[in-house]
């Protein structure tokens, strides 16, 4: 019954969306928007109708209504409530409903901001076109309310690896980021079409860029954190295509955040900002395509229906074509003839924009090239961490250098001498700090490691220097905290990469092994039975010099469907994570495979990602209050 209502509201939203587009076209044609109330009514109703559909879908999951295909395939009565709820977006159909809901939510909120009327209606128009495309996709190929007759008694269950509290919130954050960029995309097209792409545009856009950027940052951080403790391989970033799919819009958006500041402050870089606004959302769509079309095999690839893939592919390419065509025809051609200064803030921002686009290209090639090569020639190449690290690292250092000095430069005049003065302060301090760290902790010296530590320390010093120099901290707080976070992140990543240790062994209860400087004792094993799984815990004692750490990793056997997952045990003291995971041995019943990892500064990786996001969120609130 609920399913019918859900289906109905979904269809109604499609019809209302048609009305909305129709009345907007009429208004645009006659160049008057007297029917403001009707437009506002349609826009709001679409949001509420979609919200009802989504809530009904959640309801179907909660009451385990197995007559619904999506519920049948992804849920089970013996699942805890929270996973029944998160199951609603833990599958292809439900996640597409969430996708469209967020599209309309942004349109709903945007309608209430103060913008020139024309700009507002065009934005809502483009947003409505996006909603139309994805609603048709949803209803035609992946209707979340499809019915099964007769009704099955029990569902198939949710992939156990996805049954995790973090994963209940990771997709919504990621989606708010991904889909959130749709608004600045529509807004940019509106600005281009109406020739309103100017300072005022970028002032409004600022909020709509930084908000999804912050949410995407958190979403990526959560996904990475989940991979770290759930997958049991000790890593937090695998350069997996699905991870890259979220990194690409993030890189484009980071460039956009900065170029938009230049557009706002100096009334420059209009075309570039417009292009980045379009490009960021296209990157989000590319990510959606890669993840959702079944092109990639991973926990994220829900659907393996080629028809869906073709539909997403064609609509994404159509969106790309039309948005770029609008850009080509209408791109703002303002030429400012002003003297070029190297040591000026907008120039440094532009340089780092180029670097960000370079990083983006590297990730794009690394992600897409192997897929296409495989399809065309049947050759498999593996593009792994080595590719990314060797290509990205050297340029990252230069990037960090410009990032250190950029914010200290003036917008309007060249101040080379001040920067040389700053350089004379930062350089010796960073040299001293990074060499102390290297000689204290590391037995071997690697040039990449030395440079990585040096430049990240350099950035941190420059941010702190900037911090204490600011008289009005409130204006700059967002930037300072995000930049500080980035410096700490790079520092932690380098230390972690070079100081991490991994031990593999096969052990049985009572065994003791000594590898490197660690002694691992396997003390005991015990079993417990939970609602939807059975868990076997191993009790281990790790002795590192004087320290004794008890760890209890486990293996879970889920009933529906029968599947084993390995649960890690992690103890952290903010400096080092002790990380333990076990696996069943296929060949010998008595022994189990143990993996022990020594992972320094992991806490700081998570904390710095949080700092980066907090900076963004602070900035959005400040902008909101200003408006």
């Amino acid at each position: 019954m609920a399913g019918y209502i859900g289906n109905l509201t979904l269809f109604l939203s499609l019809i209302f969306n048609g009305f909305l587009i129709f009345s907007l076209i009429k208004g645009i044609k006659n160049n008057n928007f007297k029917e403001l109330k009707t437009i506002s009514f349609f826009n709001d109703s679409i949001f509420f109708l979609l919200l009802i559909s989504f809530l009904i879908l959640i309801y179907c999951f909660i009451v385990s209504d197995f007559s619904n295909v999506a519920v049948y395939q992804n849920s089970h009565t013996a699942k805890p409530l929270i996973y029944k709820i998160s199951g609603a977006w833990g599958n292809h159909e439900g996640s597409m409903v969430l996708f469209i809901l967020i599209l309309s939510l942004f349109s709903f909120v945007f309608f209430r901001t103060k913008v020139i009327e024309k700009l507002k209606f065009y934005t809502v128009f483009f947003q409505a076109i996006l909603i139309l495309i994805f609603l048709i996709f949803l209803i035609l190929t992946s209707n979340p309310f499809d019915q099964i007759v007769p009704k099955p008694l029990q569902g198939l269950g949710l992939n156990p690896i996805l049954q995790d509290p973090l994963l209940a919130i990771h997709p919504p954050f990621l989606y708010f980021g991904y889909v959130g960029f749709s608004l600045v995309f529509s807004f940019a097209l509106a600005g281009l079409v109406t020739n309103n792409f100017d300072k005022l545009w970028s002032k409004v856009a600022n909020f709509w860029i930084i908000l999804p950027w912050s949410l995407l940052t958190i979403g990526i951080g959560l996904g990475s954190f989940w991979a770290y403790y759930e997958l049991g391989w000790g890593g937090y970033w695998f350069w997996d295509p699905v991870e890259n799919a979220s990194l690409m819009p993030w890189l484009a958006a980071t460039a956009l955040v900065h170029s938009n500041i230049v557009t706002f402050k100096k009334d420059k870089l209009h075309s570039w900002t417009a292009l980045l606004s379009i490009f960021t959302f296209i990157m989000s769509l590319l990510g959606t395509f890669l993840v959702r079309s079944g092109v990639l095999n991973s926990v994220h690839a829900f659907a393996n229906d080629p028809y869906r893939g073709v539909y997403i592919l064609s609509s994404i390419l159509l969106i790309t074509f039309f948005s770029l065509a609008i850009f080509i025809v209408k791109s703002p051609k303002k030429f400012l003839y002003e003297k070029y200064y190297f040591f000026q803030r907008d120039n440094f921002i532009l340089i780092n924009n180029c670097f960000l686009i370079f990083f983006l290209s590297v990730v794009l090639v690394g992600t897409v090239y192997p897929i296409i090569l495989d399809a065309i020639s049947g050759k498999s190449i593996s593009v792994g961490p080595i590719y990314y690290h060797t290509i990205l690292a050297p340029f990252l250092f230069i990037f960090l250098f410009f990032m250190s000095h950029g914010p200290l430069l003036s917008w309007n005049k060249e101040d080379k001498f001040l920067q040389i003065k700053n350089f004379k302060i930062f350089f010796p301090i960073s040299i001293v700090i990074s060499s102390v760290i290297i000689f204290w902790f590391f037995n071997y010296k690697d040039i990449i490691l030395i440079l990585g530590l040096f430049f990240s320390v350099y950035l941190i010093i420059s941010v702190l220097f900037d911090w204490f120099l600011q008289k009005k901290l409130t204006i700059h707080f967002g930037r300072l905290i995000s930049h500080l976070g980035f410096g700490v992140l790079i520092f932690a990543i380098f230390v972690n990469a070079y100081l991490s240790k991994e031990i593999n062994a096969a052990m049985k209860v009572g065994d003791e092994v000594k590898i490197q400087e660690f002694i691992i004792k396997f003390k005991s094993i015990n079993k417990i039975k939970k609602e939807n799984y059975e868990e076997v815990f191993g009790n281990f004692l790790v002795i590192n010099k004087e320290k004794q750490i008890e760890l209890t990793p486990s293996i879970r056997r889920y009933d529906q469907p029968i599947q084993f997952t390995s649960e890690t045990s992690i103890k952290t003291n903010f400096i080092v994570d002790y990380y333990f995971a076990i696996n069943l041995s296929e060949f010998e019943k008595e022994k189990i495979m143990v993996r022990f990892y020594y992972k320094p500064l992991m806490f700081w990786i998570w904390f710095s990602i949080l700092l980066i996001a907090i900076g963004g969120i602070y900035q959005t609130f400040r902008l909101k209050n200003e408006q």
Binding site: F289, S293, G294, V295, L296, N297, P306, G309, V310, L313, S314, L317, T320, F321, L324, A325, I328, V329, I371, I372, D374, A375, I376, S382, G384, E502, I503, N504, A505, A506, I515, Q516, S585, E586, F587, E588, K591, M593
Partner: protein, 172 residues
């Protein structure tokens, strides 16, 4: 450049991307490790476990008529079970076996061979397990039969009577 040209170029690019990705969508994407059978081994050069100047090179392997490549690790329990079979293949049947030491500590690996004997003529050290993945391995142990660098047979799990017989058959 005229806008018309720009848009034409854009349209052509989009169509090309569409065709490329259509190919991707239509090709089978499920990862099947045994798809490597009948294919050439990936290119790699690995340091030997005992002698850093010696290299396990895929090019040299590709020149040999018959090579057995065994993926093993000292921490892997079933590797101990299959070890006598490897020793027999080498000593009795004079078969050239090369090893791929998977995610192992060098000292442990050497100890393992000291205790159980060394059937390998060369041992590539695959610290991160990357080459094993490229070879399409599920895990350790796994054994590959290479003819001129082509994988003609693969055995998953520890070797046994049947598997060794099969290897000897292939040798003929």
């Amino acid at each position: 450049m005229n806008n018309k040209y720009k848009i034409t170029i854009l349209a052509i690019t989009i169509v090309i991307i569409f065709i490329l990705f259509l190919r991707v969508l239509n090709s089978n994407k499920t990862y099947q490790p045994n798809q490597m059978i009948g294919k050439k081994i990936p290119e790699f050069i690995l340091e030997d476990l005992f002698n850093k100047n010696m290299k396990l090179d895929s090019k040299i392997l590709s020149e040999k008529d018959f090579v057995v490549l065994n993926i093993w690790a000292s921490w892997c329990v079933p590797c101990q079970i299959e070890h006598p079979f490897l020793m027999n293949l080498k000593n009795k049947n004079k078969i050239n076996i090369v090893g791929l030491n998977y995610k192992d500590e060098n000292a442990n690996a050497k100890n393992f061979l000291k205790k159980n004997g060394n059937p390998f003529s060369l041992i590539g050290v695959d610290k991160k397990g990357e080459i094993a993945i490229q070879l399409g391995a599920y895990g350790v142990p796994e054994t590959y039969i290479l003819k001129k660098g082509k994988i003609i047979f693969k055995h998953i799990g520890p070797l046994n009577e049947d598997a060794t017989n099969k290897i000897l058959e292939l040798k003929k």
